[in-house]
């Protein structure tokens, strides 16, 4: 048991930044993202003895936990970036704010598709497996989401992203 805690702790320290960045784009705010990552890591901890690929498991768990939370919420919670009022926002922070606002306009499952495909660089088949939908549906959702993103973000070059 103790050796599992050691290995798990090491994994959590190293992998949590990647999980957190995905969670932030999915949830849109820091507090929910932190909660989502902790819950994901908790699930991984329980499953740790039988998990062969903890990296893959964590990202599947993160995405499915996010969608499960969304389904449970009756209120249509809108992700919002937390902005420090009156403070200067650097370029990355401005991009993040714009991107989170744009992602918030998407259906949560479409949002998950984009995060998996473009932030996590997962192939279509893998995204389909994670979301339990068909590869064709992933492509459809990708196109729809990119079109919507382009509308929200102005003339962002979504065609480049489709390649």
């Amino acid at each position: 048991m103790r050796s599992q805690d050691l290995a798990f702790g090491e994994f959590a320290l190293i992998r949590s930044p990647r999980l957190y960045r995905s969670a932030l784009l999915l949830c849109g705010n820091e507090h929910t993202a932190e909660d989502l990552v902790q819950e994901t890591l908790a699930k991984l901890y329980v499953a740790w003895p039988r998990v062969n690929d903890p990296v893959a498991y964590a990202h599947v768990a993160l995405t499915r936990t996010f969608l499960s939370h969304v389904r449970r919420r009756s209120t249509a919670e809108r992700p919002t970036a937390v902005l420090p009022d009156g403070e200067h926002l650097d370029q990355d922070a401005t991009q993040r704010t714009d991107l989170i606002r744009a992602l918030a306009e998407l259906d949560p499952r479409d949002r998950a598709v984009l995060v998996l495909r473009y932030l996590e660089d997962q192939p279509v088949d893998q995204v389909a497996q994670i979301l339990r939908i068909k590869p064709g549906a992933v492509r459809t959702r990708t196109h729809r989401a990119l079109r919507r993103i382009r509308v929200v973000l102005g003339d962002f070059d979504a065609e480049e992203a489709l390649r």
């Binding site: 320290l13 930044p17 990647r18 901890y45 329980v46 991009q95 003339d155």
Partner: protein
């Protein structure tokens, strides 16, 4: 909406770049995430087992570092997509332990050095990647197939993530002398470094513990850690068995782990 930043001529204007740029400077509460995940995981496990009550929460700082140095995808030739483009190795030498005047060499130099240090045998699928693409994780993972069997190396600053998350740092050999000693015991070398070399039977999901794995750990006196492993199979927990023994002995692994192939020449 101000989209000027979305049209940086230096970017490829694609969504992947945008997502990575937008999240690269996020302040990640690494310590809270890991400690919270561990705490909630323990609670969930107790519930699964029908236990009652909540034990005291262990902070991650008490966890220390385990002998499973870094979890990773099993099997050889992990596709880059498994860890994402951000995990691609930097060509520049990352920082290292504050007390060390040695710095890791660039990724290609490290890979070339390891390949040159291997004994004779056909090498296929050599790969090197940064450790999980996190800027505060300093190190490389190398995997290759030697005579058809998997060999892996990790080199890292074991305290880099601990510093980033505000955890106390571990000294050389602390993994040997802590409350959870390494398997088979460790030995301290005359220069203050530590090593631990051992073999074990391993299995995996759907794979009985019928394979042999040779391990060699090395903690340098100036704060670096190298973990190497050789398997008598094509993958760590997957694939087929390739022979009675792994392609490298403990001594051969240790010789590479304790060599200077990881570091940039002095003065670079």
């Amino acid at each position: 909406m101000n989209n000027d930043n979305l049209h940086d001529p230096d970017s490829r204007h694609d969504l992947a770049v945008l997502m990575r740029q937008a999240t690269r400077d996020v302040d990640v509460p690494v310590g809270r995430l890991a400690a919270g995940g561990l705490r909630r995981g323990r609670i969930a496990r107790r519930r699964h087992r029908g236990g009652i009550g909540v034990a005291a929460v262990a902070v991650l700082g008490a966890v220390g570092l385990g002998y499973q140095v870094l979890p990773h995808s099993s099997g050889p030739a992990t596709p880059s997509g498994a860890t994402g483009p951000a995990a691609q190795p930097s060509t520049s030498a990352p920082a290292g332990p504050p007390g060390s005047d040695r710095r890791l060499a660039g990724a290609q130099a490290v890979l070339d050095g390891v390949l040159a240090a291997l004994p004779a045998g056909t090498v296929t699928q050599p790969q090197i990647e940064g450790l999980h693409g996190d800027p505060s994780a300093t190190g490389y993972r190398i995997s290759l197939q030697l005579r058809g069997a998997l060999v892996t190396f990790y080199v890292d600053d074991p305290n880099s993530m601990r510093r980033a998350s505000g955890l106390s740092e571990l000294g050389p050999g602390s993994e040997c002398t802590g409350s959870q000693p390494m398997p088979a015991g460790c030995s301290e070398l005359p220069d203050g470094s530590w090593q631990n070399n051992f073999s074990r039977r391993t299995g995996g999901v759907g794979v009985p513990a019928s394979r042999t794995q040779n391990d060699a750990y090395y903690w340098s006196a100036d704060g670096w850690r190298v973990y190497s492993a050789a398997y008598n199979a094509t993958g760590e927990k997957t694939g087929t068995t390739t022979g009675a023994q792994p392609p490298l002995t403990n001594a051969e692994l240790a010789a590479i782990a304790q060599s200077d192939v990881w570091f940039a020449p002095s003065g670079d």
